[in-house]
């Protein structure tokens, strides 16, 4: 078996995460301390498992980290074709998930670019490499050097939401205190984070927060439209409309929600998130229209799990095994929530049972139960299959539509950073 190396190696990732902490201590002048010594000793453990190439890459990344928050000593060298080619090659390597090489190419080009440009590219590379904490540091550095580029703070806050949710929530609350004075894209992200965070609040408190977010999203959309960014930032405006609709839906104002989804789709008829949001609201009451919305979202190659998930449920209920399998598999690839993965695997199991593939069916039931061990419906369906080898779909308990309607919209992130 090939050893997973560099950013695929958990030991490397652990070392790099600790390295980030060490650089933070160094910047604060606090590393020559017991805390610093203890941290370095912790670093010995993952370091023991790194090979020489990994050590070299970690050391180069450490050198990159020294550029954070330091004044640039010199102006960039004149631009040369080789430097531009290195940047382009770096982006290509990033797309191929060759992150160590991508970062190395950025170093080659660095003397010819401003520090903020290279550090923004480093942040993007590290975000793709699954190190959002480090990415956030580089984005923040870029935004401090170039505050006039609001996308840098947007990316910083997005990365921070993955790396340190509590810190992201605190930053978001601080940003929204003066939301009319901040950039609307940053406002959108801060409101998005606080909307998602209401999952962790008691209902009454969540309702208060969501009520408070309504004017924030409204102002955000208004200013996007006013400053002419509604076309340039169309996916962000559409995402803001989606979440604004969800806010109203959460507060029981379904009609208002629907007007936002309809209004958004008139402006942005190619936005998958709006189709999904409208489909979720219609499913069960106007299922034919809802299925049309979900199909449209899949035609737009939506990255969201929900259109595939709802369509899989719909096709299973219709007895269309082939389409259900296709959609459940597509949903499974995109699912991040355990209960959603479990549902998809259960539906695949039922399809396999009806196709007469008992071994695959039982394996899929078992996999589903790994994600949701306490789910009584899956346990029941598995037992049913074992007892009767039921291959008629009507014999199984299917998720009722009203249960599917309770899918928490706060798991719905319409705009990935």
């Amino acid at each position: 078996m090939n050893k997973r190396r560099f950013f695929e190696n958990p030991r490397f990732r652990e070392y790099v995460a600790l390295l980030r902490e060490l650089h933070d201590l160094i910047r604060r002048g606090a590393d020559e301390s017991e805390e610093g010594e203890a941290l370095r000793e912790r670093m010995d453990v993952p370091a023991e498992y790194l090979d020489q190439d990994e050590i070299d890459v970690a050391n180069q990344l450490s050198a990159d980290l020294y550029t954070l928050f330091m004044e640039a000593k010199e102006s960039p060298l004149p631009m040369v074709p080789r430097a531009r080619e290195a940047i382009i090659a770096s982006f290509a390597e990033r797309n191929k998930r060759q992150f160590a090489h991508a970062l190395d190419l950025l170093r080659t080009a660095a003397p010819h670019f401003e520090v903020w440009q290279i550090n923004y590219a480093r942040g993007s590379t590290l975000l793709d490499a699954g190190l959002p904490g480090l990415a956030a540091d580089f984005f923040l550095d870029a935004s401090r050097r170039r505050p006039e580029y609001p996308n840098f703070r947007f990316m910083w806050l997005s990365a921070l939401a993955y790396a340190a949710p509590e810190a992201a929530r605190n930053e978001s609350q601080a940003i929204l205190k003066n939301y009319t004075e901040e950039d609307p894209k940053l406002i959108y992200k801060a409101a998005d984070i606080l909307f998602a965070e209401t999952r962790n609040l008691p209902d009454a408190e969540a309702a208060d927060v969501i009520q408070g977010l309504i004017p924030v999203f409204e102002d955000c959309i208004f200013r996007f439209q006013l400053n002419g960014h509604e076309t340039e930032e169309n996916s962000t405006v559409a995402a803001a409309m989606t979440l604004l609709g969800f806010c109203h839906e959460h507060l029981g104002r379904d009609d208002v929600a629907l007007t936002y989804f309809d209004r958004g789709l008139k402006l942005y008829p190619h936005n998958d998130a709006l189709y999904v949001a409208r489909g979720m609201q219609r499913y069960g009451e106007d299922t034919v229209s809802a299925v049309g919305d979900f199909r449209k979202a899949t035609e737009l190659d939506s990255k969201l799990v929900w259109p595939y998930f709802f369509l899989a449920h719909f096709y299973l209920g219709q007895g269309d095994i082939e389409e259900c399998m296709k959609m459940a598999s597509a949903a499974l690839q995109r699912a991040t929530v355990a209960s959603v993965k479990a549902d998809c695997l259960e539906w695949i199991a039922i399809c396999q049972a009806s196709l007469g593939n008992p071994e695959v069916a039982i394996a899929s039931f078992d996999e589903a139960l790994k994600w949701a061990p306490q789910n009584p419906r899956i346990v029941h369906n598995r037992q049913l299959f074992q007892q009767q080898a039921a291959n008629d779909i009507s014999g199984y308990d299917l998720v009722p539509i009203d249960e599917l309607q309770t899918v928490d919209r706060r798991h719905f992130s319409p705009l990935a950073a």
Partner: protein, 145 residues
């Protein structure tokens, strides 16, 4: 005899400090959670190539072991400034005898990293003594290769 490098804390006489703590001339032993060796119930060191870590050169090592005052010559250095990079011996970095009691054992699949390990079964105290006896043969060498 192989040439080996190791960053270590420095005593007042500029020689490495002996001891069983991190970055000292010696090994960390159980119950230290970062123990460098495995120890039997009879308090002898298990001969499994674990021991005091060293490198072919200090530039081969993770940056958190390299004193950060060397950052101009080694830009990834993040180690404590209380460390110095020491060199011992002259020769190729391969498995081989360091003293009568100590052996350089390269780490698996590595040509640049290794451990100083006991040549034969010995007590933990004997290993610490054997390592301590090399103290005066270590010299500070922070030059690039």
């Amino acid at each position: 005899m192989p040439t080996i490098y190791r960053p270590m804390k420095t005593d007042e006489d500029m020689l490495p400090r002996c001891g069983a703590a991190s970055k000292e001339l010696g090994v960390r032993i159980p119950p230290n959670e970062h123990s460098d060796v495995d120890v039997t119930e009879e308090n002898t060191v298990v001969l499994n190539r674990r021991g005091m870590s060293v490198g072919r050169h200090w530039t081969s090592l993770p940056g958190h072991l390299i004193p950060k005052r060397l950052v101009q010559t080694f830009p990834g250095a993040t180690g404590s400034n209380s460390l110095s990079c020491y060199r011992f011996g002259h020769g190729e970095f391969t498995d081989g005898t360091i003293t009568n009691d100590l052996l350089l054992a390269l780490k698996p699949n590595s040509t640049t990293l290794g451990n100083l390990v006991p040549v034969y079964e010995m007590s933990v105290e004997s290993l610490q003594t054997a390592l301590g006896q090399t103290r005066e043969r270590w010299v500070v060498d922070e030059d690039l290769p």
